[in-house]
């Protein structure tokens, strides 16, 4: 009880202090934030697995509990939060409000994972949502407004869908604790149950950027303050994933019992989610391929990666669940890494427009190395955590017989190479622009955070069994099917085996062989200058635009234009137009300004009501 209060107090007190003292000294706000995150982690470490009760509303006990899943998610959250707070040392320009809201946001996110009842869950959920909005705005400028408003609107809509789902469950079971809901969920009629779970999944889906609720995500991710984006995309979206997990865990068993909902050996919700996940992954990665701005590209990539997780959750067997949870961690790690690197690039160069960058490998080699590491994980190259999770997801898809969605997922993964290469090429490779000649490497806080993120990426890539082990423990504690055929370095599924360490050692040996072969070849000559290139004998100067980065995949775009034309955005814009139209009609009718018209309305209402009285039977 007290430990939980200390934990909450650590973050909220930190937020208050950062807000109040931050305007006096920039050092103070950074220090307080850093300290609060570390202190919070220490406090969390002492909490162990336990349950806490707080008396909150009408003396009701709201429950916060910590189990293995909570620990997994919270450590993920706190880890990335630590990275962000580390990176924030180099960002004095952010306002104290940002720091305060960041701490509140971390608190809200952690509380979501800890909450065990409807009230505290929704409280934390909303806390997490609005603080993120505040952060977009606190760093905010003219052009960010629309992204912020869009994010806020969507997250409110999502939260309200969640609220309705929860309230239906509450109305049907009269319980607010999850465990009690599970116990009495048998009393809920099928219709209400389906409604509730549809609302819940849709609501959580908004946060998890599930198509067609994804439209806010790219804008919001790309417009959020740069150091925070990694957390935003890596962790906040995971709350939606967690919510879907919770909803499925508590309700899916009940749904399984409804025979008419069974398709393909699982409930129709699972089937729908598999398709939605696959389409999200595929569509978003195709869009990501055509982005011109680095943050937009990564943002769409996030949407795509979240599609993988939703896909895997839909499969919902041991492989699917393992794949989803491991990909949640994988995505958090590599997306935080990539966004942090991009934040560093933006800090040094001031832009994320990829055509304006280029050749930064010469000036920021460390950033490049870790961008490659993050990219390897993103593209799912073996030896990184990205492959471990993706591989399980593929096996799950094929093993579950979801052949077409799996094909889409594969295509999405190939598209990931396309956009990833575009990202790393346009920013770090190619010719260096004149104005970036004097760019410096990122400060120490940045590259320390890179290293901290890269370690688990490789560790879980080489020891996939360790990751699967953690997740199996979680799934077993929830009595869900878990993958048990694993050793430290290898994982075996019904279809095949993957041994991360063998691949790693093999590749290491191959790399050594390659290097030996390379050094057999003798000396090389360093290029005389940046323009020492084969250009049909022509010599160009530095002003000449040699950076092939605008419209990188033009030919692809041309061929896929029919597919890219299908846009949820346009549909929503139409809806928005419609609402604005109705709003104007409403405004001009009921508030027309003529006092007499108001009296007319009054008389009409009175008449209608009086007349309707005659319908009443005595």
């Amino acid at each position: 009880m007290m430990k939980l209060l200390y934990f909450i107090g650590c973050f909220s007190g930190g937020a208050l202090l950062a807000f109040l003292l931050g305007s006096f000294s920039p050092l103070l706000k950074k220090f307080i934030t850093f300290l609060a995150v570390i202190l919070g982690a220490v406090l969390f470490a002492t909490m162990g697995t336990s349950t806490y009760q707080l008396s909150l509303l009408f003396g009701n006990q709201v429950i916060f509990g910590i189990d293995t899943l909570t620990q997994f998610m919270v450590w993920m959250t706190l880890g990335i939060a630590f990275i962000v707070s580390l990176v924030l040392w180099s960002h004095s320009e952010l306002s104290p409000t940002f720091f305060a809201l960041f701490l509140l946001n971390v608190l809200g996110t952690v509380l979501i994972f800890m909450s065990r009842d409807i009230v505290s869950f929704f409280f934390s959920w909303e806390l997490m949502s609005w603080t993120a909005f505040g952060m977009i705005l606190s760093d905010g400028w003219e052009k960010k407004r629309s992204a912020a408003v869009k994010y806020f609107m969507w997250s409110a809509a999502g939260a309200y869908m969640v609220l309705i789902g929860f309230s239906i469950l509450f109305a049907a079971t009269s319980a607010i604790r999850f465990e009690n809901i599970v116990m009495s969920v048998g009393r809920v009629s099928h219709g209400w149950l389906i409604t509730a779970i549809a609302f819940l999944v849709a609501g959580f889906g908004v946060k998890a950027a599930m198509m067609p609720f994804h439209v806010w995500a790219p804008d919001a991710y790309s417009e959020s303050p740069h150091p925070f984006t990694g957390f935003f995309s890596g962790i906040l979206s995971k709350t939606g994933v967690y919510g879907i997990f919770i909803a499925f865990f508590y309700l899916a068993a009940r749904l399984e019992a409804v025979p008419m909902l069974r398709v393909h050996g699982t409930s129709i919700f699972g089937y729908i989610m598999v398709w939605i996940g696959a389409i999200t992954a595929f569509g978003a990665s195709l869009i990501a391929v055509h982005q011109e701005y680095g943050k937009k590209l990564l943002a769409w990539s996030s949407v795509s990666q979240l599609g993988y997780i939703i896909f895997a959750f839909g499969i919902a067997d041991s492989l699917g669940m393992t794949g989803a949870l491991s990909h949640a961690l994988a995505h958090a790690l590599f997306k935080a890494l990539l966004f942090t690197i991009l934040a560093g690039v933006i800090m040094r160069t001031g832009t994320d427009h990829m055509a304006s960058l280029g050749g930064l490998i010469k000036r920021m080699p460390l950033s490049f190395i870790f961008a490659v590491v993050g990219g390897l994980a993103l593209a799912g190259i073996p030896m990184t955590i990205g492959f471990t999770s993706k591989w399980i997801i593929y096996e799950a898809g094929i093993n579950g017989g979801y052949i077409f969605p799996t094909t889409l997922i594969f295509a999405a993964s190939t598209a990931a190479f396309l956009y990833y290469y575009r990202f790393v090429y346009s920013i770090f490779l190619g010719p260096l622009h004149e104005e970036h000649q004097n760019v410096k490497e990122v400060p120490a806080t940045y590259w320390i955070s890179y290293i901290l993120l890269a370690i688990p990426i490789f560790y879980f890539g080489l020891y996939p069994g360790k990751l699967v082990g953690i997740i199996s423990t979680i799934l077993q504690s929830y009595n869900l099917p878990a993958l048990t055929t694993y050793t430290a370095t290898s994982v075996t599924t019904p279809l095949g085996t993957f041994n991360g360490m063998v691949v790693g050692l093999g590749f290491g040996a191959a790399l050594i062989v390659g290097l030996i072969v390379y050094f057999i070849g003798g000396r090389v000559r360093k290029a005389a200058s940046q323009t020492d290139k084969y250009l049909a004998g022509e010599v160009v100067t530095n002003e000449f635009e040699l950076h092939y980065s605008v419209d990188f995949y033009r030919f692809l775009e041309r061929k896929l234009s029919w597919l890219l034309k299908i846009s949820a955005q346009k549909f929503y814009e139409f809806i928005g137009e419609l609402i604005r139209f109705v709003a104007d009609i409403n405004r001009k009718m009921f508030f027309c300004g003529n006092g007499q018209a108001y009296l007319y309305y009054m008389t009409i209402v009175l008449t209608i009501l009086i007349l309707s009285i005659w319908r009443i039977k005595p």
């Binding site: 073996p382 279809l495 095949g496 040699l546």
Partner: protein, 300 residues
């Protein structure tokens, strides 16, 4: 113990053998193409001479560390992929990873090369890479559809399992029951090998040999080796999935036969535009593959 020792010896010698055989494949390809074009053609060992020459060249231009590492990574990536594909009933490392692992290992090589090309900073190289990646998006879908149908048919993603199921003569090869998938995969293979009509990435007349534009000397030598291994690996996938593997000799015979088909097409076809190539993969081969996949799903 002895078996393990043998295995390790095999793992060490296999790559050398494959490199030499791959270079002979390339030489044979030149010879065969020449004969089709009514020329005499170079000797069949010409590519070995080329590689020796390339490694003996002095002072090839270097554009930076990643530029050097790129070909190395390409070579190493192909080498490690090679170890995960069973050759001639020898499992090598393929008990430690299945087809999907191999598919993703295959990506390391192009990725490394792409990074190297990127640091080279030649726009033509980058265009080549962009084309190659686009092409990859095209054929990967077809490839995956075919592979999924095989996995669905056998219920396993392990190469050795699949090969074991095909043992017992020509009639047991999967090319017969999974003919459509095999056809689709062969089309995809044409793109994977970069043979015409899918040689847009390297098209010498358009982008000055594309990704290779800045690579000379030993860099090019490494890339030649990478290409040589690549041909064996890529045709090997087809051999293992549809032609039932076989002993070492027959394995290479089948592999060369697959390559030979690709060569014949290469010799007589002009080049697609890249957009057309991409669209081609997503229409006919994909449709054939999907029909095959549906048939497997229904009949299974």
């Amino acid at each position: 113990m002895n078996a393990v020792g043998l295995n390790i010896t095999w793992i060490i010698f296999m790559p050398i053998l494959v490199i030499i055989i791959g270079l002979f494949y390339l030489g044979a390809a030149r010879k065969i193409t020449a004969r089709i074009q009514n020329r005499y053609g170079p000797p069949i060992y010409q590519n070995i001479i080329d590689v020796i020459k390339l490694f003996s060249k002095k002072n090839p231009t270097n554009h930076g560390v990643m530029f050097s590492l790129g070909p190395v990574m390409a070579f190493s990536g192909m080498l490690i992929s090679l170890l995960f594909i069973p050759i001639g009933n020898k499992a090598l490392l393929s008990f430690n990873g299945d087809i999907i692992v191999l598919l993703y290992l295959l990506v390391i090589a192009p990725l490394g090369m792409a990074l190297g090309v990127g640091e080279g900073g030649n726009p033509m190289g980058t265009i080549g890479i962009a084309r190659a990646l686009t092409l990859m998006l095209g054929y990967e879908v077809v490839l995956v559809i075919s592979i999924i149908s095989v996995i669905l048919y056998t219920g396993s993603a392990s190469f050795m399992e699949i090969i074991k199921m095909q043992s017992g003569g020509v009639g047991h090869w999967f090319i017969w029951p999974l003919f459509l998938s095999a056809l689709a995969m062969d089309m995809a293979l044409q793109g994977m090998l970069g043979e015409k009509p899918f040689d847009q990435p390297v098209a010498p007349h358009e982008v000055a040999s594309g990704p290779m534009v800045e690579f000379g000397g030993k860099y090019l030598g490494l890339l030649q080796l990478y290409h040589a291994i690549g041909i064996v690996v890529e045709t090997g996938i087809f051999v293992n999935l549809f032609l039932g593997g076989g002993t070492l000799f027959w394995w290479f015979v089948k592999s060369f036969a697959v390559f030979f088909v690709a060569l014949l097409i290469n010799a007589v076809m002009p080049r697609f535009r890249i957009g057309q190539a991409f669209a081609f993969f997503w229409t006919y081969p994909a449709a054939i593959g999907l029909i095959g996949l549906i048939l497997v799903a229904i009949l299974k």
